[in-house]
């Protein structure tokens, strides 16, 4: 028995979007007792279909949604074409929103609570990160907005913004393990009063609003 076992007992989770860290998080959810479907490698615009397939595979409604978004290339702003810009931001921002809205519609329609976790890139700014920063700003405020819109439906949404999410190999195993544990905690009912929050792991950032 591990320290987190039972946190997510009986929960059914869908892991979507992209990013190597999703493997860690999916493993953490399984350790917590959840049944997990990982669709993170699926390239599809059929977001309702992703949910329907997950429900079949899980044998019931999806309770938890983890979304890794899409990795947006690091590139100088002036060297970014409109096509590149839209491809990155659309994949990340639109992909998260549309998948989450589809998830929430199902929760609301059947009167079930739900919990969403976004894995996000670091809030640290550096040259070439305009696409990531733009999408991160949008997604951060989206989290705050959806938390309020769906609070009375029992649907919570939070985010973890960390270097570990965009490049797990750049951080140590301790940080990766903590990210998995925090993910499981935030998705569990133990965090029932936490919603609309974005936190880091070990970012040592400066006073940014969460």
């Amino acid at each position: 028995m591990n320290a987190t076992s039972g946190w997510l007992a009986g929960k059914r989770a869908l892991v979507a979007g992209s990013g190597a860290i999703l493997v860690d998080v999916a493993a953490a959810l399984r350790k917590g007792g959840a049944t997990v479907v990982d669709s993170s490698r699926a390239a599809t615009d059929d977001l309702e279909g992703v949910l329907s397939d997950a429900e079949v595979a899980l044998g019931g409604n999806v309770d938890l949604l983890v979304h890794g978004g899409a990795s947006i290339d690091v590139r100088a702003s002036e060297a970014t074409s409109l096509q590149q810009w839209r491809a990155g931001v659309s994949a990340d921002l639109d992909g998260r929103f549309l998948q989450t809205a589809a998830f929430a519609r199902r929760c609301i329609s059947v009167g079930r609570p739900g919990s969403v976790l976004y894995l996000l890139p670091s809030r640290a700014l550096a040259a070439g990160r305009v696409g990531r920063a733009t999408s991160l700003g949008a997604v951060t405020n989206l989290i705050k907005t959806l938390a309020v819109e769906w609070a009375r439906d029992g649907i919570r949404i939070n985010g973890i913004a960390s270097r570990a999410c965009e490049d797990p190999a750049s951080v140590g195993l301790v940080v990766r393990s903590s990210l998995g544990n925090l993910s499981a905690y935030l998705l569990s009912d133990y965090a029932a009063y936490i919603t609309g929050m974005v936190t880091g792991i070990n970012e040592l950032a400066t006073g940014e609003p969460t």
């Binding site: 439906d153 133990y190 792991i201 950032a205």
Partner: protein, 295 residues
């Protein structure tokens, strides 16, 4: 009367107190000093840490209150001692650490909670009122944290600090200038100390909390007041102390060994509620009650 909003149909709650998110060996062998731990949110932290297996030093100015905190922890099967000190007094803080060390062993977890708060308009706030709130929270957190860090560094051991802040640190708190300043200072102090002591393995994190009513808050256990609070919070309810204590204990545990310099918010989205077209703004000075009134 229910404390929940009558319109809320799907309010999510944490598991019961007797089903904590960890077993009692998670913090076994750890000694946690909790400032202001005899009542309110400090007691919530102390109980959560004790549920995870830490021995607790309940620090406060009032012998009665710290003794009550100890009784509460012991009644739940935990181990605790009371120690008296004013967190604004550096010598008293150092002496308190000595006392705890003799009774329980070296302090390995510090929970900075001591604080006070009351509504008052800024232009009529006395210097004493300003200093009372800001110095307990700011100086107290600084003095206890630095005492803790010096001792951990001296013995070459890692350590964990968790600070208690508030959900209004990013928005300000009209009618509460002293607490708004003090609680925000704790968030930035958290980040700075996490930087300072990263190399020594001392983690520093913070919990920014919303409404967690207890015996010391104005609404206390008044069901009507609590129902009014619940209606104004998106989550449809107030926070329950075990949720706050468990989050603090999680951050202090090995489960969060890679987490430092962070502030986690637990407020049921209370800080985020707004309507674009709302009722007229009433300045704090013109309100019947400075913090506003429940409907």
């Amino acid at each position: 009367m229910s404390q929940e909003s009558p319109t809320a149909s799907r309010i999510v709650r944490a598991p019961d107190f007797n089903c904590p998110p960890f077993t009692a060996d998670l913090l076994a062998g750890e000694v946690a000093l909790v400032t202001g731990g005899g009542s309110g949110m400090g007691l919530g932290m102390a109980v959560g840490l004790a549920q995870a297996g830490a021995s607790i030093a309940v620090l406060g100015r009032s012998p009665e209150r710290t003794a009550a905190g100890v009784r509460r922890i012991e009644a739940n099967g935990g181990r605790a001692v009371a120690v008296q000190a004013d967190v604004r007094d550096q010598d008293a803080v150092s002496h308190a650490f000595d006392i705890v060390e003799k009774a329980l062993g070296p302090v390995s977890i510090l929970a900075n909670n001591a604080g006070g708060n009351f509504p008052v308009l800024a232009e009529v706030m006395s210097a004493n009122a300003w200093r009372a709130v800001t110095r307990i929270a700011i100086d107290g957190t600084f003095l206890c944290s630095t005492e803790f860090a010096r001792r951990r560094i001296a013995c070459g051991r890692a350590g964990v600090i968790v600070n208690n802040s508030a959900q209004y640190v990013w928005s300000g708190f009209p009618g509460d200038a002293h607490s708004a300043a003090a609680k925000a200072a704790i968030v930035t102090m958290t980040e700075a100390m996490a930087h300072d002591w990263r190399a020594q393995g001392i983690r520093v994190n913070c919990v920014a909390a919303g409404f967690f009513p207890h015996d010391g808050t104005p609404e206390g256990k008044d069901p009507e007041a609590l129902a009014g609070l619940a209606r104004m919070i998106p989550a449809g309810r107030v926070g329950e102390m075990r949720e706050f204590g468990w989050l603090a204990a999680f951050l202090c545990s090995a489960l969060a060994a890679g987490i430092t310099g962070e502030t986690l918010v637990i407020d049921g989205a209370e800080r985020l509620r707004r309507v674009l077209l709302g009722p007229p703004f009433v300045p704090p000075r013109e309100r019947a009650v400075i913090w506003g009134e429940l409907s």
